[in-house]
Amino acid sequence: MNRSDPPVVEPAEAHEDGTSLLPELIEYLRQHRTELRKEWVRRITDADLLRVMTPEEIFSEVTAVYDNYVDTLKTGSVETLQDYARDLSERIIPRGVETHEVLGIVLLLRDVLARSLFVKYQHDSDLLNRILDAYEPAANRIAVTVGVSFVEERERVIREQQEAIRELSTPVLQVRDRLLILPIIGVLDSQRARQLMEQLLAAIQTNRAKVVVIDITGVATIDVGVANHLVQTVEASRLMGASAIITGLSSKIAQTLVDLGVDLGMMRTVGDLQGGLEEAERLIGVKAKERHSVAGPEA
């Protein structure tokens, strides 16, 4: 125990060396820029990463990443690298570059550089250790920064697209006085089903709709949850004084609903949209006639 006192000084020395070692490391990376870059590109190609990009593109991106990497080691600030990584992600995400490729590439650079440090300092294991002490935390931080930037950018794109799809896909259209159509296309999940219901009810109120035609020709499959949402939408419409007609049930969906035992007895269904509109006009026509016939005596 008492022997452990003197060596305590050593790490302090090493630390001092470590701070002075970083510039040396950076200088080394600058000087060997060309060959290390080449080695990195070779490893990327060998690993079969970034197949959607041409070799020239890979090389120019690799150069930029390499320079940013060295800069980050020098300044210790990841902000520039972060900006670059985000910008890079924005360019490569639409081309289908995957998360595992980006992480793989960053880790490859880390390996390439570490390997070259091994080669350079292999005769002096003590110095090598201290060089690695200086290199590893910085390198790990860089790898994390690039990976996280990529994933964040990807999530942002996905969120935007989800938003866009949601807005695009739920129009409520007025066909004629007091008649609305709600064409549903694509996948219905519970969030979207609820949004549809809200939009439809608001539209019933503002347009004073009497009949609503819900067309599900564009819905491929249906499950219990979605079927129940449809039933709820029909019932809520009725509470607002509007009749709902469901059209475009494919034979597959019809069979599914029967198999699931969903009670659609309360729902008015018609084979296709044309039939649905005819039925709707008939309903409105009947009602309009009644309205005319009673308007006089009541007033």
Binding site: R194, M197, E198, L201, A202, I204, Q205, R208, K210, Q232, T233, E235, A236, S237, R238, L239, M240, G241, A242, K287, E290, R291, S293, V294, E298
Partner: protein, 124 residues
């Protein structure tokens, strides 16, 4: 009592002004049932546009108003259910059968006129 009841021809219009306590709901039901027979009415319109919530008790009371009124010779229509209220009701599986619902007073009058015509002159 936060319900204004006015008579319009053969119909009675009950406009609910604010959320009702359970007692007030029961009083409304008895009140309406009483008047239907007295005034020989053919229809009741209940406007619930001011309600933020229709819970199971109110829904059941509305239904029982409708059934009672039907036995006394009048149809009942509920009007003015707000979209949010409608969504909440279907999610809690509350329904108003055999009550009819209409968007507003105009629509309710149309509905009542139609059932009066359809069912003949016995009420008149």
């Amino acid at each position: 009592m936060p319900v204004a009841i006015v008579r319009q021809g053969d119909y009675l219009i009950a406009s609910v002004q604010s959320d009702l306590s359970d007692n007030e709901v029961l009083r409304l039901r008895d009140d309406l049932a009483e008047r239907v027979g007295q005034l020989r009415l053919r229809g009741i319109i209940i406007d619930v546009g001011a309600l933020d919530v229709i819970d199971s008790f109110v829904a059941r009371s509305l239904r029982s108003i409708a059934v009672t009124a039907r036995l006394r010779g009048a149809d009942t229509v509920v009007v003015g259910i707000q979209p949010d209220v409608a969504i909440a009701m279907v999610q809690f599986r509350l329904n108003l059968e055999p009550l009819q619902a209409a968007l507003d007073l105009d629509e309710a009058l149309v509905v009542l006129d139609r059932s009066a015509h359809g069912e003949g002159e016995d009420g008149a």
